[in-house]
């Protein structure tokens, strides 16, 4: 499967939403399941708002994490978005 276009604006797919149960970790609910997310995964998905482009998400993650190798962040964001797209959690 092709990598997401850096200009596309990912958003949560229909039927996917965040849940903030009392005292528990933030979760993403989708039709037949839920994912608990923390760290970079959550940082990426929270930016999938249909306004930011893939490139903007990569840039923001880069500013936030400041790792030595920026290409790695781009790769990881792309792979993560692809996986969620396959699960039908994110529209690209």
């Amino acid at each position: 499967m092709a990598k997401p276009d850096s200009n596309s604006k990912p958003r949560l797919a229909a039927g996917c939403r965040w849940a903030d149960p009392n005292g528990a970790e933030r979760m993403l609910l989708y039709p037949e399941g839920a994912i608990k997310l923390r760290g970079p995964g959550r940082d990426i998905l929270e930016r999938c708002d249909g306004r930011r482009t893939v490139q903007q998400i990569i840039d923001e993650l880069h500013d936030q994490y400041r790792v030595a190798n920026p290409a790695r962040i781009a790769d990881e964001v792309a792979t993560f978005l692809e996986q969620l797209h396959k699960k039908r959690v994110v529209d690209l």
Partner: protein, 367 residues
């Protein structure tokens, strides 16, 4: 430690305009007069969310048969539950669909009985296929997650590629292809439903190819036919581990079919809180964990993956709910499954033209 449940299956009613020959409802259907009131259900939804459950699956029977469905969806959403409707679509007009979505419905799982009206309507025991096709188009116009669900068996597996094409045409985001599970009504119709080995092998190849081809467009979930598997399914993710089902009269069950197991007593949400039923009731503790397990399960490495399979199937096929699921190739009772498969897979001694028509036992409606 008692696990946190994930989802509530709410069988709102056993009334249904369809009469599917493999219906997962019990043979003994709950009467209309016994159904829980609106307020009971809304209290149950709040208790479910407080217990940590995330999803509610509103099902039946046909949940649209409840005139208070919109209120129930409002109640489920304000409790914080993710709200899914499992429906045949019969009874859903454009206006009612809009009202359900406005009330907070998040996902519709629409059932189909096949790819073509004549054969699908025969399985449903009523004309319904054409309406479902029209309804799918209305659902697609709304911003709501849409899953198409098709139960597959010997009569429609040869048209699996066509079923997948229909789901693509209708624009489903998910397609659930579920092989019949043989309890209640389906077990009574097993001789006409059980697929052949050739069908099973072909269908698995078709599904795998379609999953590849449709990646990112349509997700295909496949429920394998457990009679042909080497090991049993992890039924309900384990007894009393993830799911609780409330029947129309308020009885809390660990699974759809548990009512068939003799000597079980299912507590009712009219008398008890969900938290007590989940944590303390005999029914939910009966086969929870591993202490009930016989050999070969007790010393089997797979016991943490499949939990010994399905308790109801063990009772129905081996006469003992605490036996290893007979579909397991290691089960002492496995011969009963082999016998059933042999009858389907031997070459027919008669020319096809002389085979009698299937004599279906259709699901009834409750009084």
């Amino acid at each position: 430690m008692v696990p946190t449940p994930l989802a509530l299956i709410a069988e709102l009613t056993h009334r249904c305009p369809l009469h599917c020959v493999y219906c997962s409802n019990p043979l003994e259907l709950q009467k209309t007069a016994m159904e829980l009131e609106t307020g009971d259900w809304i209290r149950v939804f709040r208790e479910a969310a407080n217990l940590g459950m995330l999803h509610v699956h509103l099902t039946g029977g046909e949940p649209l048969s409840r005139p208070d469905l919109t209120e129930l969806i409002t109640g489920a959403r304000s409790a914080g539950l993710y709200t899914n409707l499992i429906t045949s679509g019969i009874g859903l007009s454009e206006n009612r669909l809009a009202a359900l979505i406005d009330a907070g419905l998040e996902h519709i799982q629409l059932s189909f009985q096949g790819s073509q009206a004549a054969s699908a309507d025969q399985i449903a025991g009523t004309r319904s296929h054409a309406h479902k096709v029209q309804l799918a188009a209305l659902i697609k116009q709304r911003k709501i997650a849409f899953t198409m669900n098709v139960v597959v068996h010997r009569q429609n597996l040869d048209r699996l590629a066509e079923i997948i094409s229909l789901a693509e045409e209708l624009g489903a985001e998910r397609l659930e292809i579920a092989n019949v599970q043989y309890y209640g009504w389906a077990l009574r119709n097993r001789d006409s439903l059980l697929p052949t080995r050739e069908q099973v092998d072909k269908s698995q190849a078709i599904v795998t190819a379609a999953q590849q081809r449709l990646q990112g467009r349509m997700r295909i979930d496949f429920v394998a036919p457990d009679y042909y598997a080497r090991y049993p399914k992890a039924c309900m993710g384990g007894w009393g581990q993830r799911l609780m089902l409330i029947d129309p009269a308020g009885q809390a069950l660990p699974c759809h079919a548990a009512g068939v197991i003799p000597g079980m007593n299912f507590d009712n949400v009219r008398q008890h809180r969900l938290e007590w039923i989940w944590n303390e009731s005999n029914a939910f503790q009966k086969f929870r964990g591993e202490s009930w397990m016989p050999e070969p399960c007790r010393s089997c490495d797979r016991r943490i993956e499949d939990f010994g399979g399905c308790r109801c199937q063990a009772f129905l096929l081996a006469g003992d709910a605490a036996a290893t699921d007979p579909v397991c190739s290691l089960a002492p009772s496995h011969a009963v499954v082999d016998d059933a498969l042999m009858q389907v897979n031997v070459p027919l001694p008669l020319p096809a033209s002389t085979i009698r028509q299937n004599s279906w036992i259709y699901r009834q409606n409750p009084k």
